[in-house]
């Protein structure tokens, strides 16, 4: 019977093309807007760490003094990073910040380009499961014994070396030679969860250099740097010794035991710093540390802004308005066919069969609306990307939307069709048989 109902639905749509088109348009516009906002929202709220979300933790310390910030800062100081790096509890750990430099090769024809660089530890690559095309991360020993080594991204490798295996080759950063030890495969987690503070939807860097070079090279900080008290800055060393927070510090704690042990380690560390009169707030040591997994980290840093959630709600309301319009149109269309329903009922159709027939018609209209809505959503996202320079990561129509969109469209259409189908299936056949 289902195919019979689909056939009847198609005939009905063809019979009233304008009314049907209006319904399809109403659904498609509502769906198009909802899916556009939902897509942006789902892209924003996606957790790219997946199963590793719980074990990857960003460290925050209550290092500020009394009458200062009243919440944890997302960043930590250089001295804290250097101290925390001594712990052997995490499976991997990485301090990091963003800098930039002019990039050059041995090729004299190559015009130097300015690129963002991630200054980090060797643990970064295992922490965030960075895939390698050639070579690998620099040796762990480089984290304490600075070497001019670097890892580059596939795209940069393409533009610098034509995509060939560049391990062992030299790249100049601000005219200083660095040896390539690894080339990473295309890798661009969205949101950029390891550093949402510098643009949660910016692309991942194409250059990675050892953190241990920081005091030597005195890299500029291309990111936030905050201090809770006045400290005179007389040089790079004074920045390193200051209470300024400007670094992110991530650890890999794969088990509950390691998390508990590390939390205890951090509490002892805070206690020790209090004794050294660094952490002057009277907050208890155990309450002065915060471990945030990836999901918590993304939420804490407002990767999905409140506005976006409101927008999703508004678009859902708009869909409801469309739904009410569709309901009215369907009621009109279905009641016009009440005489036919009367005949069908007279010759043996049950109410259930009539209800099913009309719900299938509604579903078919919803499906068309969904497909058209998908096109609207794609066009809207494309326009956002092309005209307003919104990050690509947010304007790609996610694969799940290709399934979700028609499902929502059919679902909402069925919801809107419930009442009209119910009304028409309750048609008293005898009322219409004389009047035909």
């Amino acid at each position: 019977m289902f195919l019979y109902y689909v056939d009847l639905a198609w005939r009905s749509i063809k019979k009233t093309p304008v009314l049907s088109l209006l319904m399809v348009l109403a659904i498609s516009i509502g769906i198009g807007i909802t899916i556009t906002t939902l897509n942006v929202y789902s892209m924003m709220s996606f957790n790219p760490a997946g199963e590793r979300s719980d074990r990857l933790n960003a460290i925050q310390l209550w290092s500020q003094g009394v009458n200062s910030w009243d919440e944890y800062h997302s960043l930590v100081t250089y001295q804290d990073v250097m101290n925390l790096r001594q712990s052997g509890i995490p499976k991997a750990q990485a301090a990091m910040f963003r800098t930039g430099a002019a990039v050059q090769t041995d090729d004299p024809e190559f015009v130097p380009i300015l690129r963002g660089i991630r200054v980090t530890d060797s643990g970064f690559f295992s922490l965030f499961s960075v895939p390698f095309l050639y070579g690998g991360a620099w040796d762990k020993s480089v984290d304490s014994d600075p070497q001019y080594q670097l890892v580059i991204g596939e795209k940069l490798n393409q533009s610098l070396f034509g995509g060939e295996n560049s391990v062992g080759k030299t790249v100049y950063l601000n005219r200083k030679p660095y040896h390539v030890v690894g080339v990473i495969k295309e890798w661009n987690p969205q949101p950029k969860y390891y550093d949402p503070l510098n643009g949660a939807f910016n692309s991942a860097e194409q250059l990675f250099v050892p953190f241990s070079l920081t005091p030597i090279e005195e890299f500029d900080v291309w990111g936030n740097s905050s201090g809770w008290k006045f400290e005179p800055m007389t040089g790079y060393q004074s920045r390193l010794n200051s209470e300024k927070v400007w670094l992110e510090f991530w650890v890999d704690l794969p088990s509950e035991e390691s998390r508990s042990a590390y939390r205890s380690f951090l509490s002892h560390y805070v206690e020790q710093q209090k004794q050294l009169n660094r952490f002057t707030d009277d907050k208890a040591a155990a309450d002065s540390v915060q471990l945030s997994n990836v999901a918590e980290w993304l939420e804490m840093n407002n990767v999905v802004p409140e506005d976006n959630k409101i927008l999703v709600g508004l678009s859902a309301l708009f869909l409801c308005v469309c739904l009410v319009n569709i309901l009215g149109l369907m009621l009109t269309k279905f009641l016009k066919r009440a005489p036919e329903v009367g005949v069908r009922r007279a010759i043996g159709a049950s109410r259930g069969q009539i209800f099913a027939q009309y719900m299938v018609e509604v579903g078919v209209i919803g499906l068309f609306g969904g497909l058209l809505g998908l096109l609207w959503a794609w066009l809207a996202l494309y326009s956002l990307s092309a005209k307003f320079d919104v990050a690509d990561g947010l304007t790609n129509l996610s694969m799940s939307m290709w399934v979700i969109t028609p499902s929502i469209a059919v679902g909402t259409a069925l919801l809107a069709g419930l009442y009209p189908a119910w009304v028409v299936c309750r048609t008293k056949p005898s009322v219409y048989l004389k009047s035909q």
């Binding site: 069908r344 007279a346 043996g348 049950s350 005898s430 048989l433 004389k434 035909q436």
Partner: protein, 240 residues
């Protein structure tokens, strides 16, 4: 086959109660051809709707094939309509978007017959009414008489036990009406019980029995045998 005992049908509004049928009694036997006549508003169509399970009634009992079907659920009523009853209407009531074969096929679909069985029955029913060669035509491409024949084919396709016809010739000219009437007589001879509402006394005379309804009651019935009226009663009778 069909027995109605003390059937009443009251239509109520806030202001007025209308008794469409009152203490209506009737029995129709298997294989009969019964004509129902009466003035407009007398309750003929209400009777037919109740007989065809298209409407419920307020009081009384209705037995079909010996089974009391006074309080049937909607689904059961639809199933009985589909299986046992065929309808022919004055306005033909064909579905305009469907071709002849598809129109005839509709009740068979609801009955759940296989495609092959449906095809066989549709062909047979349309052949019987002389329209087997025009299966793909739309109702709008046919004359009134032809459309009524298609409606008869649709009613016959499910091989119903009895056929309810509400002024089947009301919209036809005399030639067409005669053809349709001959077709109904033929169907009746083949064993199908027919109850036909008509205004036309000539047509009523061709039935085996004529029941006259006035003010919602059977007030007179005439038994025709060999073209002559044998019995006439002028008051409400329970044909039992």
């Amino acid at each position: 086959m069909l027995t109605m005992k003390n059937i009443s049908k009251v239509f109520k509004t806030d202001l007025v109660e209308t008794h469409a049928l009152r203490d209506f009694n009737l029995e129709v036997n298997e294989g009969e051809f019964v004509a129902v006549t009466g003035p407009s508003g007398s309750g003929k169509t209400t009777f037919l709707n109740i007989a065809g399970l298209l409407e419920g009634f307020t009081h009384g009992d209705y037995f079909l094939d010996g089974v009391n079907i006074s309080n049937l659920s909607d689904n059961k009523a639809a199933a009985i309509r589909n299986e046992k009853i065929g309808f022919i209407f004055q306005g033909f009531n064909l579905i305009p978007d469907l071709n002849l074969a598809e129109n005839v096929e509709v009740p068979l679909r609801y009955r759940g017959f296989s495609a092959k069985e449906r095809q066989r029955r549709v062909q047979e029913a349309l052949d019987k009414v002389g329209l087997g060669a025009r299966m793909k035509h739309l109702p709008s491409q046919l004359s009134g008489g032809q459309q009524q024949r298609v409606a008869i084919a649709r009613a016959l396709a499910g091989e119903p036990r009895f056929l309810l016809a509400d002024e089947p010739t009301g919209n036809l000219d005399s030639l067409m009406a005669r053809q349709v009437m001959e077709l109904l007589e033929e169907i009746n001879k083949a064993g199908t019980t027919i109850i036909m509402v008509t205004h036309d006394p000539e047509l009523a005379r061709r039935a085996q029995r004529n029941i006259q309804i006035v003010d919602g009651q059977v007030c007179d019935f005439t038994l025709y045998q060999g073209g002559q009226a044998h019995v006439a009663q002028t008051e409400q009778k329970v044909a039992s």
